[in-house]
Protein backbone atom coordinates (compact mmCIF):
# COMPACT_ATOMS: atom_id res chain seq x y z
CA UNK A 1 0.00 0.00 0.00
CA UNK A 2 1.36 3.41 -0.99
CA UNK A 3 2.35 5.54 1.99
CA UNK A 4 0.63 8.92 2.33
CA UNK A 5 2.73 11.83 1.18
CA UNK A 6 3.04 15.07 3.11
CA UNK A 7 4.89 16.78 0.26
CA UNK A 8 4.86 15.85 -3.39
CA UNK A 9 6.31 17.82 -6.27
CA UNK A 10 6.27 17.12 -9.98
CA UNK A 11 8.79 18.84 -12.21
CA UNK A 12 8.93 21.80 -9.87
CA UNK A 13 11.04 24.49 -11.49
CA UNK A 14 11.93 28.02 -10.48
CA UNK A 15 13.85 30.38 -12.69
CA UNK A 16 14.28 33.85 -11.22
CA UNK A 17 13.85 36.97 -13.33
CA UNK A 18 17.63 37.31 -13.22
CA UNK A 19 17.86 34.11 -15.24
CA UNK A 20 19.16 31.99 -12.37
CA UNK A 21 17.69 28.49 -12.48
CA UNK A 22 17.39 27.79 -8.76
CA UNK A 23 15.21 24.69 -8.85
CA UNK A 24 15.24 22.43 -11.86
CA UNK A 25 12.50 19.88 -12.52
CA UNK A 26 12.37 18.70 -8.93
CA UNK A 27 10.40 15.58 -8.05
CA UNK A 28 10.27 15.32 -4.27
CA UNK A 29 8.26 12.95 -2.12
CA UNK A 30 8.16 13.34 1.64
CA UNK A 31 6.21 10.63 3.40
CA UNK A 32 3.80 11.47 6.17
CA UNK A 33 5.28 10.96 9.62
CA UNK A 34 8.94 10.95 8.65
CA UNK A 35 11.81 13.34 9.29
CA UNK A 36 13.09 14.12 5.82
CA UNK A 37 16.48 15.69 5.42
CA UNK A 38 16.86 18.02 2.48
CA UNK A 39 20.57 18.09 1.97
CA UNK A 40 22.67 20.19 -0.33
CA UNK A 41 25.58 22.58 -0.47
CA UNK A 42 25.01 26.31 -0.12
CA UNK A 43 23.24 27.67 -3.18
CA UNK A 44 21.91 24.27 -4.22
CA UNK A 45 18.30 25.45 -4.19
CA UNK A 46 17.15 24.22 -0.77
CA UNK A 47 15.69 27.49 0.49
CA UNK A 48 14.12 28.29 -2.87
CA UNK A 49 12.42 24.89 -2.79
CA UNK A 50 11.11 25.51 0.73
CA UNK A 51 9.84 28.94 -0.33
CA UNK A 52 8.03 27.31 -3.23
CA UNK A 53 6.49 24.76 -0.88
CA UNK A 54 5.41 27.57 1.48
CA UNK A 55 3.80 29.58 -1.31
CA UNK A 56 6.23 32.46 -0.94
CA UNK A 57 7.49 31.97 -4.48
CA UNK A 58 5.48 31.15 -7.57
CA UNK A 59 6.94 28.25 -9.59
CA UNK A 60 8.02 28.82 -13.17
CA UNK A 61 6.63 25.39 -14.03
CA UNK A 62 5.69 22.16 -12.35
CA UNK A 63 3.35 21.56 -9.46
CA UNK A 64 3.36 20.69 -5.79
CA UNK A 65 0.99 19.38 -3.17
CA UNK A 66 1.86 20.36 0.39
CA UNK A 67 -0.16 18.97 3.30
CA UNK A 68 -2.83 17.93 0.85
CA UNK A 69 -3.32 21.24 -0.93
CA UNK A 70 -1.67 23.75 -3.21
CA UNK A 71 1.29 25.59 -1.68
CA UNK A 72 0.27 28.93 -0.19
CA UNK A 73 -3.43 28.06 -0.09
CA UNK A 74 -5.19 28.52 3.26
CA UNK A 75 -5.85 24.75 3.37
CA UNK A 76 -2.15 23.99 3.02
CA UNK A 77 -0.96 26.78 5.31
CA UNK A 78 -3.40 25.74 8.04
CA UNK A 79 -1.72 22.33 8.31
CA UNK A 80 1.91 23.41 8.02
CA UNK A 81 4.31 25.44 10.09
CA UNK A 82 7.51 26.76 8.64
CA UNK A 83 10.68 28.58 9.46
CA UNK A 84 12.25 29.56 6.16
CA UNK A 85 15.79 30.93 6.21
CA UNK A 86 16.11 33.56 8.93
CA UNK A 87 13.58 33.66 11.79
CA UNK A 88 11.88 36.96 10.95
CA UNK A 89 9.99 38.85 13.64
CA UNK A 90 9.19 42.40 14.69
CA UNK A 91 12.23 43.75 16.55
CA UNK A 92 10.24 46.17 18.73
CA UNK A 93 7.90 43.45 20.02
CA UNK A 94 8.67 40.93 22.72
CA UNK A 95 8.92 37.26 21.86
CA UNK A 96 5.50 36.68 23.38
CA UNK A 97 3.91 39.58 21.49
CA UNK A 98 5.47 38.34 18.26
CA UNK A 99 3.80 34.99 18.86
CA UNK A 100 0.52 36.80 19.60
CA UNK A 101 0.79 38.46 16.19
CA UNK A 102 1.49 35.11 14.52
CA UNK A 103 -1.35 33.45 16.44
CA UNK A 104 -3.79 36.12 15.30
CA UNK A 105 -2.76 35.76 11.68
CA UNK A 106 -3.02 31.99 11.96
CA UNK A 107 -6.35 32.17 13.74
CA UNK A 108 -5.22 30.00 16.64
CA UNK A 109 -6.04 30.78 20.28
CA UNK A 110 -3.40 32.66 22.22
CA UNK A 111 -3.56 29.91 24.85
CA UNK A 112 -1.24 27.97 22.48
CA UNK A 113 1.56 30.46 23.07
CA UNK A 114 2.75 29.40 26.52
CA UNK A 115 3.00 25.66 25.69
CA UNK A 116 5.13 26.29 22.59
CA UNK A 117 7.31 28.76 24.48
CA UNK A 118 7.86 26.09 27.10
CA UNK A 119 8.61 23.48 24.45
CA UNK A 120 11.43 25.58 22.99
CA UNK A 121 12.56 26.70 26.44
CA UNK A 122 11.86 30.38 25.87
CA UNK A 123 9.38 31.14 28.63
CA UNK A 124 11.85 33.16 30.68
CA UNK A 125 12.91 35.37 27.80
CA UNK A 126 9.52 35.76 26.16
CA UNK A 127 8.91 39.19 27.69
CA UNK A 128 12.10 40.66 26.22
CA UNK A 129 12.17 42.37 22.86
CA UNK A 130 13.09 40.26 19.85
CA UNK A 131 15.91 42.62 18.91
CA UNK A 132 17.74 41.70 22.12
CA UNK A 133 17.75 37.96 21.34
CA UNK A 134 20.80 35.90 20.48
CA UNK A 135 20.85 33.84 17.30
CA UNK A 136 19.90 30.72 19.25
CA UNK A 137 16.92 32.40 20.88
CA UNK A 138 15.76 33.74 17.51
CA UNK A 139 15.95 30.24 16.07
CA UNK A 140 13.97 28.83 18.98
CA UNK A 141 11.32 31.52 18.65
CA UNK A 142 11.13 30.69 14.95
CA UNK A 143 10.46 27.06 15.79
CA UNK A 144 7.87 28.11 18.39
CA UNK A 145 6.06 30.22 15.77
CA UNK A 146 6.12 27.31 13.34
CA UNK A 147 4.59 25.08 16.01
CA UNK A 148 1.78 27.46 17.01
CA UNK A 149 -0.72 25.92 14.63
CA UNK A 150 0.05 22.39 15.86
CA UNK A 151 0.94 21.57 12.26
CA UNK A 152 0.99 18.14 10.64
CA UNK A 153 3.93 19.27 8.54
CA UNK A 154 6.84 21.25 9.90
CA UNK A 155 9.32 22.84 7.49
CA UNK A 156 12.57 23.95 9.06
CA UNK A 157 15.28 25.63 7.01
CA UNK A 158 18.71 25.08 8.56
CA UNK A 159 17.37 25.25 12.13
CA UNK A 160 20.80 24.85 13.74
CA UNK A 161 22.38 27.61 11.68
CA UNK A 162 24.32 29.93 13.96
CA UNK A 163 23.77 27.87 17.09
CA UNK A 164 26.55 26.99 19.50
CA UNK A 165 27.27 23.28 20.12
CA UNK A 166 24.94 23.09 23.12
CA UNK A 167 22.17 24.84 21.20
CA UNK A 168 22.71 22.51 18.26
CA UNK A 169 22.33 19.44 20.47
CA UNK A 170 19.18 20.87 22.04
CA UNK A 171 17.69 21.71 18.65
CA UNK A 172 18.34 18.19 17.37
CA UNK A 173 16.69 16.73 20.44
CA UNK A 174 13.75 19.05 19.88
CA UNK A 175 13.40 17.97 16.25
CA UNK A 176 13.34 14.32 17.30
CA UNK A 177 10.72 15.18 19.91
CA UNK A 178 8.63 17.01 17.32
CA UNK A 179 8.40 13.87 15.25
CA UNK A 180 6.38 12.21 17.98
CA UNK A 181 2.69 12.00 17.28
CA UNK A 182 3.08 11.36 13.58
CA UNK A 183 4.21 14.84 12.60
CA UNK A 184 6.19 15.16 9.37
CA UNK A 185 9.35 17.23 9.54
CA UNK A 186 11.08 18.51 6.41
CA UNK A 187 14.48 19.71 7.45
CA UNK A 188 16.94 21.41 5.15
CA UNK A 189 20.59 21.46 6.01
CA UNK A 190 24.05 21.51 4.59
CA UNK A 191 25.34 19.82 7.76
CA UNK A 192 25.76 16.13 7.07
CA UNK A 193 25.99 14.88 10.62
CA UNK A 194 22.83 16.79 11.50
CA UNK A 195 20.89 15.00 8.80
CA UNK A 196 22.49 11.68 9.69
CA UNK A 197 21.50 12.07 13.33
CA UNK A 198 17.94 13.29 12.89
CA UNK A 199 16.48 12.15 9.58
CA UNK A 200 14.71 8.99 8.47
CA UNK A 201 15.27 9.70 4.80
CA UNK A 202 17.42 12.11 2.88
CA UNK A 203 17.12 13.90 -0.43
CA UNK A 204 20.28 15.36 -1.88
CA UNK A 205 19.91 18.44 -4.05
CA UNK A 206 22.63 19.98 -6.17
CA UNK A 207 22.27 22.79 -8.68
CA UNK A 208 18.51 22.69 -8.20
CA UNK A 209 18.14 18.99 -9.04
CA UNK A 210 17.45 16.07 -6.78
CA UNK A 211 20.45 13.83 -7.31
CA UNK A 212 19.62 11.11 -4.77
CA UNK A 213 16.95 10.10 -2.32
CA UNK A 214 16.75 7.37 0.29
CA UNK A 215 17.77 6.44 3.79
CA UNK A 216 21.30 7.25 4.89
CA UNK A 217 22.18 3.55 4.57
CA UNK A 218 20.71 3.39 1.09
CA UNK A 219 22.72 6.39 0.00
CA UNK A 220 25.86 4.81 1.41
CA UNK A 221 25.09 1.61 -0.44
CA UNK A 222 24.56 3.56 -3.66
CA UNK A 223 28.07 4.90 -3.45
CA UNK A 224 29.69 1.58 -2.70
CA UNK A 225 28.56 1.05 0.86
CA UNK A 226 31.15 -0.54 3.08
CA UNK A 227 34.65 -1.57 1.99
CA UNK A 228 37.51 -3.57 3.39
CA UNK A 229 40.43 -1.47 4.43
CA UNK A 230 43.83 -3.18 4.45
CA UNK A 231 47.10 -1.72 5.69
CA UNK A 232 49.92 -4.07 4.70
CA UNK A 233 53.67 -4.20 3.94
CA UNK A 234 54.86 -4.31 1.25
CA UNK A 235 51.88 -2.52 -0.20
CA UNK A 236 52.58 -3.21 -3.90
CA UNK A 237 52.84 -6.95 -3.27
CA UNK A 238 49.59 -6.90 -1.30
CA UNK A 239 47.90 -4.91 -4.09
CA UNK A 240 48.94 -7.43 -6.77
CA UNK A 241 47.72 -10.30 -4.65
CA UNK A 242 44.27 -8.89 -3.82
CA UNK A 243 43.75 -7.73 -7.42
CA UNK A 244 44.23 -11.34 -8.49
CA UNK A 245 41.62 -12.33 -5.90
CA UNK A 246 38.99 -9.61 -6.57
CA UNK A 247 39.77 -8.06 -9.95
CA UNK A 248 38.60 -4.47 -10.48
CA UNK A 249 37.52 -4.01 -6.87
CA UNK A 250 40.74 -2.60 -5.46
CA UNK A 251 41.95 0.93 -5.16
CA UNK A 252 44.87 2.48 -3.36
CA UNK A 253 44.25 5.33 -0.97
CA UNK A 254 47.54 6.54 0.51
CA UNK A 255 49.15 3.66 2.34
CA UNK A 256 45.98 1.56 2.44
CA UNK A 257 44.03 -0.61 0.06
CA UNK A 258 40.25 -0.30 -0.21
CA UNK A 259 38.43 -3.35 -1.48
CA UNK A 260 34.81 -3.08 -2.63
CA UNK A 261 33.92 -6.61 -1.55
CA UNK A 262 31.64 -8.35 0.87
CA UNK A 263 33.19 -7.93 4.34
CA UNK A 264 32.68 -11.69 4.92
CA UNK A 265 35.68 -12.30 2.63
CA UNK A 266 38.01 -10.57 5.09
CA UNK A 267 39.25 -13.79 6.74
CA UNK A 268 40.12 -15.59 3.50
CA UNK A 269 41.88 -12.52 2.07
CA UNK A 270 43.85 -12.15 5.26
CA UNK A 271 44.93 -15.82 5.13
CA UNK A 272 46.18 -15.44 1.52
CA UNK A 273 48.12 -12.28 2.30
CA UNK A 274 49.83 -13.85 5.33
CA UNK A 275 50.53 -17.06 3.43
CA UNK A 276 52.33 -15.03 0.71
CA UNK A 277 54.51 -13.30 3.28
CA UNK A 278 52.69 -9.97 3.45
CA UNK A 279 52.62 -8.32 6.89
CA UNK A 280 49.03 -7.23 7.59
CA UNK A 281 48.95 -4.52 10.25
CA UNK A 282 45.28 -3.54 9.85
CA UNK A 283 42.24 -5.13 8.27
CA UNK A 284 38.81 -3.78 8.99
CA UNK A 285 35.48 -2.86 7.49
CA UNK A 286 35.37 0.79 6.46
CA UNK A 287 31.94 2.37 6.44
CA UNK A 288 31.62 5.14 3.92
CA UNK A 289 30.55 8.32 5.63
CA UNK A 290 27.60 10.38 4.49
CA UNK A 291 30.12 13.08 3.76
CA UNK A 292 31.74 10.85 1.14
CA UNK A 293 28.38 10.12 -0.40
CA UNK A 294 27.43 13.78 -0.37
CA UNK A 295 30.64 14.87 -2.02
CA UNK A 296 30.35 12.21 -4.64
CA UNK A 297 26.75 13.01 -5.45
CA UNK A 298 27.14 16.76 -5.57
CA UNK A 299 30.40 16.57 -7.55
CA UNK A 300 28.79 14.21 -10.03
CA UNK A 301 25.98 16.70 -10.51
CA UNK A 302 28.48 19.23 -11.81
CA UNK A 303 28.88 17.13 -14.94
CA UNK A 304 27.29 18.90 -17.90
CA UNK A 305 25.29 15.89 -19.10
CA UNK A 306 23.65 13.62 -16.63
CA UNK A 307 21.03 10.97 -16.64
CA UNK A 308 18.02 11.48 -14.40
CA UNK A 309 18.74 10.55 -10.79
CA UNK A 310 18.11 6.89 -9.97
CA UNK A 311 15.50 6.02 -7.39
CA UNK A 312 16.42 5.09 -3.86
CA UNK A 313 18.13 1.75 -3.64
CA UNK A 314 19.24 1.78 -7.27
CA UNK A 315 22.76 2.31 -8.51
CA UNK A 316 24.54 -0.06 -6.18
CA UNK A 317 26.91 -0.87 -8.99
CA UNK A 318 28.42 2.59 -8.95
CA UNK A 319 32.00 2.61 -7.77
CA UNK A 320 33.05 4.94 -5.03
CA UNK A 321 35.58 6.65 -7.21
CA UNK A 322 35.56 9.89 -5.27
CA UNK A 323 35.34 8.33 -1.86
CA UNK A 324 37.89 8.83 0.84
CA UNK A 325 38.71 6.85 3.90
CA UNK A 326 37.30 8.01 7.19
Amino acid sequence: MAQALAVETHGLTKRYSTGVLAVNNLDLRVRAGEVYGFLGPNGAGKTTTLRLLSGLLHPTSGSAIVAGAMPGSPASLARMGAMVETPAFYPYLSGRDNLRVVARYAGVPTSRIEPVLKLVDMTDRARHKFKTYSTGMKQRLGVAAALLKGPDLLILDEPTSGLDPQGTIEMRALIKELKQGGRTVLLSSHLLNEVELTCDRVGVIAKGKLVAEGTVDELRARSGGSALLIRATPLDQAQRLVESLVPGQVRVDGDTLLLSVDPSQAASINRRLVADGVDVSELRVSEQSLEDVFLELTETSNSPHRDPPPQAGEGKDQSAAAGKTP
Binding site: K14, T47, T48, L57, L77, V84, A88, Y92, D97
Partner: protein
Protein backbone atom coordinates in the same frame (compact mmCIF):
# COMPACT_ATOMS: atom_id res chain seq x y z
CA UNK B 1 -9.13 39.69 6.84
CA UNK B 2 -10.35 40.10 10.41
CA UNK B 3 -7.50 37.86 11.64
CA UNK B 4 -5.04 40.06 9.79
CA UNK B 5 -6.68 43.21 11.14
CA UNK B 6 -6.35 41.92 14.71
CA UNK B 7 -2.70 41.05 14.18
CA UNK B 8 -2.00 44.43 12.61
CA UNK B 9 -3.57 46.20 15.57
CA UNK B 10 -0.90 44.80 17.92
CA UNK B 11 1.92 45.75 15.59
CA UNK B 12 0.64 49.28 14.97
CA UNK B 13 -0.21 50.01 18.59
CA UNK B 14 3.13 48.86 19.95
CA UNK B 15 5.31 50.56 17.38
CA UNK B 16 6.83 53.66 18.88
CA UNK B 17 7.63 55.15 15.49
CA UNK B 18 3.89 55.53 14.84
CA UNK B 19 3.28 57.37 18.10
CA UNK B 20 6.25 59.63 17.43
CA UNK B 21 4.91 60.47 13.97
CA UNK B 22 1.46 61.26 15.33
CA UNK B 23 3.03 63.24 18.18
CA UNK B 24 5.02 65.35 15.71
CA UNK B 25 1.86 66.07 13.73
CA UNK B 26 -0.14 67.17 16.77
CA UNK B 27 2.78 69.14 18.19
CA UNK B 28 3.16 70.91 14.85
CA UNK B 29 -0.46 71.97 14.87
CA UNK B 30 -0.50 73.07 18.51
CA UNK B 31 2.93 74.64 18.77
CA UNK B 32 3.64 76.03 15.33
CA UNK B 33 0.25 76.65 13.81
CA UNK B 34 -1.35 77.99 16.96
CA UNK B 35 0.99 78.88 19.82
CA UNK B 36 3.79 80.43 17.80
CA UNK B 37 1.45 82.37 15.53
CA UNK B 38 -0.59 83.55 18.50
CA UNK B 39 2.50 84.77 20.35
CA UNK B 40 3.99 86.49 17.30
CA UNK B 41 0.78 88.30 16.47
CA UNK B 42 0.03 89.19 20.09
CA UNK B 43 3.51 90.22 21.25
CA UNK B 44 5.07 91.87 18.18
CA UNK B 45 5.35 95.66 18.48
CA UNK B 46 2.87 97.70 16.49
CA UNK B 47 5.75 99.34 14.60
CA UNK B 48 6.60 96.13 12.76
CA UNK B 49 3.06 94.96 12.14
CA UNK B 50 1.79 94.84 8.53
CA UNK B 51 -1.23 96.50 6.99
CA UNK B 52 -3.60 93.92 8.46
CA UNK B 53 -4.17 94.59 12.18
CA UNK B 54 -3.17 91.89 14.68
CA UNK B 55 -6.70 91.67 15.95
CA UNK B 56 -7.82 90.63 12.46
CA UNK B 57 -4.92 88.26 11.84
CA UNK B 58 -5.64 86.47 15.10
CA UNK B 59 -9.05 85.51 13.84
CA UNK B 60 -7.30 82.84 11.73
CA UNK B 61 -6.76 81.00 15.01
CA UNK B 62 -10.27 81.30 16.32
CA UNK B 63 -13.00 78.62 16.17
CA UNK B 64 -14.62 80.17 13.10
CA UNK B 65 -11.49 79.14 11.15
CA UNK B 66 -10.52 75.87 12.76
CA UNK B 67 -11.72 73.78 9.79
CA UNK B 68 -9.52 75.57 7.18
CA UNK B 69 -6.67 75.50 9.71
CA UNK B 70 -6.75 71.74 10.12
CA UNK B 71 -7.14 71.22 6.37
CA UNK B 72 -4.16 73.49 5.76
CA UNK B 73 -2.11 71.32 8.14
CA UNK B 74 -3.38 68.20 6.42
CA UNK B 75 -2.15 69.28 3.01
CA UNK B 76 1.40 69.88 4.22
CA UNK B 77 2.70 68.20 7.37
CA UNK B 78 -0.32 65.89 7.57
CA UNK B 79 0.32 64.55 4.06
CA UNK B 80 3.98 63.94 4.85
CA UNK B 81 3.34 62.22 8.17
CA UNK B 82 0.62 59.91 6.87
CA UNK B 83 2.70 59.08 3.79
CA UNK B 84 5.57 58.05 6.09
CA UNK B 85 3.15 56.10 8.29
CA UNK B 86 1.83 54.10 5.33
CA UNK B 87 5.27 53.52 3.87
CA UNK B 88 6.70 52.32 7.19
CA UNK B 89 3.82 49.95 7.70
CA UNK B 90 4.38 48.04 4.46
CA UNK B 91 8.06 48.54 3.67
CA UNK B 92 9.21 47.42 7.12
CA UNK B 93 7.69 44.00 6.49
CA UNK B 94 10.16 43.56 3.66
CA UNK B 95 13.07 45.08 5.57
CA UNK B 96 12.59 42.75 8.52
CA UNK B 97 11.58 39.83 6.26
CA UNK B 98 8.46 39.53 8.40
CA UNK B 99 6.50 39.44 5.16
CA UNK B 100 7.63 35.80 5.01
CA UNK B 101 6.39 35.13 8.51
CA UNK B 102 2.95 36.60 7.93
CA UNK B 103 2.42 35.03 4.52
CA UNK B 104 2.99 31.49 5.76
CA UNK B 105 0.21 31.72 8.31
CA UNK B 106 -3.32 30.81 7.36
CA UNK B 107 -4.88 33.79 5.51
CA UNK B 108 -4.53 34.40 1.79
CA UNK B 109 -2.22 37.12 0.59
CA UNK B 110 -5.12 39.40 -0.26
CA UNK B 111 -6.62 38.88 3.20
CA UNK B 112 -3.28 39.73 4.84
CA UNK B 113 -2.93 42.97 2.89
CA UNK B 114 -6.62 43.73 3.16
CA UNK B 115 -6.33 43.62 6.95
CA UNK B 116 -3.24 45.81 6.85
CA UNK B 117 -4.85 48.45 4.63
CA UNK B 118 -8.02 48.37 6.69
CA UNK B 119 -6.00 48.97 9.85
CA UNK B 120 -4.16 51.82 8.14
CA UNK B 121 -7.55 53.29 7.28
CA UNK B 122 -8.78 52.97 10.85
CA UNK B 123 -5.58 54.50 12.24
CA UNK B 124 -5.82 57.38 9.79
CA UNK B 125 -9.42 57.95 10.83
CA UNK B 126 -8.39 58.08 14.50
CA UNK B 127 -5.53 60.42 13.63
CA UNK B 128 -8.00 62.67 11.81
CA UNK B 129 -10.21 62.74 14.92
CA UNK B 130 -7.19 63.66 17.03
CA UNK B 131 -6.14 66.41 14.61
CA UNK B 132 -9.66 67.79 14.44
CA UNK B 133 -10.06 67.73 18.22
CA UNK B 134 -6.63 69.26 18.87
CA UNK B 135 -7.26 72.06 16.38
CA UNK B 136 -10.70 72.77 17.81
CA UNK B 137 -9.32 72.87 21.36
CA UNK B 138 -6.44 75.10 20.33
CA UNK B 139 -8.81 77.51 18.59
CA UNK B 140 -11.00 77.59 21.68
CA UNK B 141 -7.96 78.29 23.85
CA UNK B 142 -6.85 81.07 21.49
CA UNK B 143 -10.14 82.90 21.54
CA UNK B 144 -10.46 82.46 25.30
CA UNK B 145 -6.94 83.77 25.95
CA UNK B 146 -7.58 86.73 23.65
CA UNK B 147 -10.85 87.52 25.36
CA UNK B 148 -12.58 87.79 22.00
CA UNK B 149 -15.61 86.05 20.66
CA UNK B 150 -15.93 83.73 17.69
CA UNK B 151 -18.69 81.48 16.41
CA UNK B 152 -18.12 77.80 15.63
CA UNK B 153 -18.77 76.80 12.04
CA UNK B 154 -22.08 75.18 11.21
CA UNK B 155 -22.32 71.42 11.85
CA UNK B 156 -22.60 70.85 8.16
CA UNK B 157 -19.28 72.62 7.54
CA UNK B 158 -17.64 70.72 10.37
CA UNK B 159 -18.79 67.35 9.05
CA UNK B 160 -17.78 68.15 5.49
CA UNK B 161 -14.43 69.43 6.72
CA UNK B 162 -13.86 66.26 8.69
CA UNK B 163 -14.73 64.18 5.64
CA UNK B 164 -12.29 66.19 3.54
CA UNK B 165 -9.57 65.68 6.15
CA UNK B 166 -10.11 61.91 6.36
CA UNK B 167 -10.18 61.56 2.59
CA UNK B 168 -6.95 63.47 2.06
CA UNK B 169 -5.02 61.75 4.82
CA UNK B 170 -6.24 58.31 3.75
CA UNK B 171 -5.08 58.93 0.19
CA UNK B 172 -1.61 59.90 1.40
CA UNK B 173 -1.47 56.91 3.76
CA UNK B 174 -2.36 54.54 0.93
CA UNK B 175 0.14 56.27 -1.35
CA UNK B 176 2.82 55.58 1.27
CA UNK B 177 1.66 51.97 1.66
CA UNK B 178 1.75 51.49 -2.10
CA UNK B 179 5.26 52.95 -2.34
CA UNK B 180 6.40 50.68 0.51
CA UNK B 181 5.15 47.60 -1.32
CA UNK B 182 6.51 48.75 -4.67
CA UNK B 183 9.99 49.66 -3.39
CA UNK B 184 10.21 47.10 -0.53
CA UNK B 185 12.40 49.65 1.25
CA UNK B 186 11.31 52.19 3.84
CA UNK B 187 14.04 54.65 2.86
CA UNK B 188 13.18 54.51 -0.84
CA UNK B 189 9.44 54.70 -0.22
CA UNK B 190 9.64 57.62 2.20
CA UNK B 191 12.32 59.45 0.20
CA UNK B 192 10.49 58.98 -3.07
CA UNK B 193 7.15 59.93 -1.55
CA UNK B 194 8.39 63.11 0.09
CA UNK B 195 10.28 64.19 -3.01
CA UNK B 196 7.11 63.76 -5.01
CA UNK B 197 5.07 65.62 -2.43
CA UNK B 198 7.31 68.60 -1.81
CA UNK B 199 9.46 68.85 -4.94
CA UNK B 200 7.61 67.36 -7.89
CA UNK B 201 4.10 68.47 -7.07
CA UNK B 202 4.45 71.44 -4.75
CA UNK B 203 7.62 73.14 -6.01
CA UNK B 204 7.78 72.23 -9.71
CA UNK B 205 4.01 72.29 -10.00
CA UNK B 206 3.93 75.69 -8.35
CA UNK B 207 6.65 77.17 -10.54
CA UNK B 208 5.24 75.93 -13.83
CA UNK B 209 1.60 76.24 -12.89
CA UNK B 210 0.85 78.61 -15.72
CA UNK B 211 2.52 76.53 -18.43
CA UNK B 212 -0.37 75.08 -20.45
CA UNK B 213 0.92 71.49 -20.62
CA UNK B 214 1.95 71.41 -16.97
CA UNK B 215 -1.37 72.95 -15.99
CA UNK B 216 -3.25 70.09 -17.64
CA UNK B 217 -1.09 67.53 -15.87
CA UNK B 218 -1.48 69.28 -12.52
CA UNK B 219 -5.24 68.91 -12.72
CA UNK B 220 -4.82 65.19 -12.20
CA UNK B 221 -2.37 65.25 -9.29
CA UNK B 222 -3.54 64.41 -5.76
CA UNK B 223 -2.05 67.44 -4.02
CA UNK B 224 -3.64 69.92 -6.42
CA UNK B 225 -7.00 68.19 -6.04
CA UNK B 226 -6.67 68.19 -2.25
CA UNK B 227 -5.96 71.91 -2.34
CA UNK B 228 -9.07 72.41 -4.45
CA UNK B 229 -11.12 70.76 -1.73
CA UNK B 230 -9.48 72.83 0.99
CA UNK B 231 -10.30 76.20 -0.58
CA UNK B 232 -13.95 75.23 -0.36
CA UNK B 233 -13.50 75.95 3.36
CA UNK B 234 -12.32 79.57 3.23
CA UNK B 235 -10.78 81.50 6.07
CA UNK B 236 -13.11 84.25 7.26
CA UNK B 237 -10.56 87.06 7.21
CA UNK B 238 -9.86 87.09 3.47
CA UNK B 239 -11.57 86.28 0.20
CA UNK B 240 -11.73 82.75 -1.03
CA UNK B 241 -8.96 81.72 -3.42
CA UNK B 242 -11.23 79.26 -5.13
CA UNK B 243 -11.03 81.12 -8.39
CA UNK B 244 -7.31 80.41 -8.63
CA UNK B 245 -7.74 76.66 -8.29
CA UNK B 246 -7.24 74.46 -11.32
CA UNK B 247 -10.15 72.16 -10.51
CA UNK B 248 -13.37 72.39 -8.55
CA UNK B 249 -13.82 70.93 -5.07
CA UNK B 250 -16.25 68.34 -6.42
CA UNK B 251 -13.76 67.14 -9.00
CA UNK B 252 -11.11 67.13 -6.29
CA UNK B 253 -13.17 64.72 -4.21
CA UNK B 254 -13.76 62.41 -7.18
CA UNK B 255 -10.09 62.47 -8.15
CA UNK B 256 -8.94 61.63 -4.63
CA UNK B 257 -11.43 58.76 -4.44
CA UNK B 258 -10.03 57.44 -7.72
CA UNK B 259 -6.51 57.71 -6.31
CA UNK B 260 -7.65 55.80 -3.21
CA UNK B 261 -8.97 52.97 -5.35
CA UNK B 262 -5.92 52.99 -7.64
CA UNK B 263 -3.37 52.90 -4.81
CA UNK B 264 -5.29 50.10 -3.07
CA UNK B 265 -5.68 48.07 -6.26
CA UNK B 266 -2.04 48.47 -7.29
CA UNK B 267 -0.88 47.50 -3.80
CA UNK B 268 -3.02 44.36 -3.88
CA UNK B 269 -1.87 43.48 -7.37
CA UNK B 270 1.83 43.71 -6.55
CA UNK B 271 1.41 42.03 -3.16
CA UNK B 272 -0.52 39.16 -4.71
CA UNK B 273 1.87 38.45 -7.56
CA UNK B 274 5.28 39.20 -6.16
CA UNK B 275 7.73 36.50 -5.16
CA UNK B 276 8.89 36.83 -1.57
CA UNK B 277 12.58 36.14 -1.04
CA UNK B 278 15.16 34.91 -3.49
CA UNK B 279 17.12 36.75 -6.13
Amino acid sequence: MIASLRAESIKTRKRWANWILFGILLAWILLLTYLTFFLVVTLSPKSIQGPVPASVLKRRLFPENFVPSVLNAASSIGAAITLIFGALSTASEFGWLTVQTILIQKPTRSAVLGGKLLLLGVATLLLSVAMFAATALASYAAVTLDGSSSAWPAWEVILKGFGALVLQLTVWTMFGAFLGIAFRSAAAAIGGGLIYLFVAEALVGGLFRNTPVVKEVLKFLPGINADAINVAFPVTIRDSTASTQLVSAGRGVVTLLVYLVVFTALSLLIWQRRDVGGS
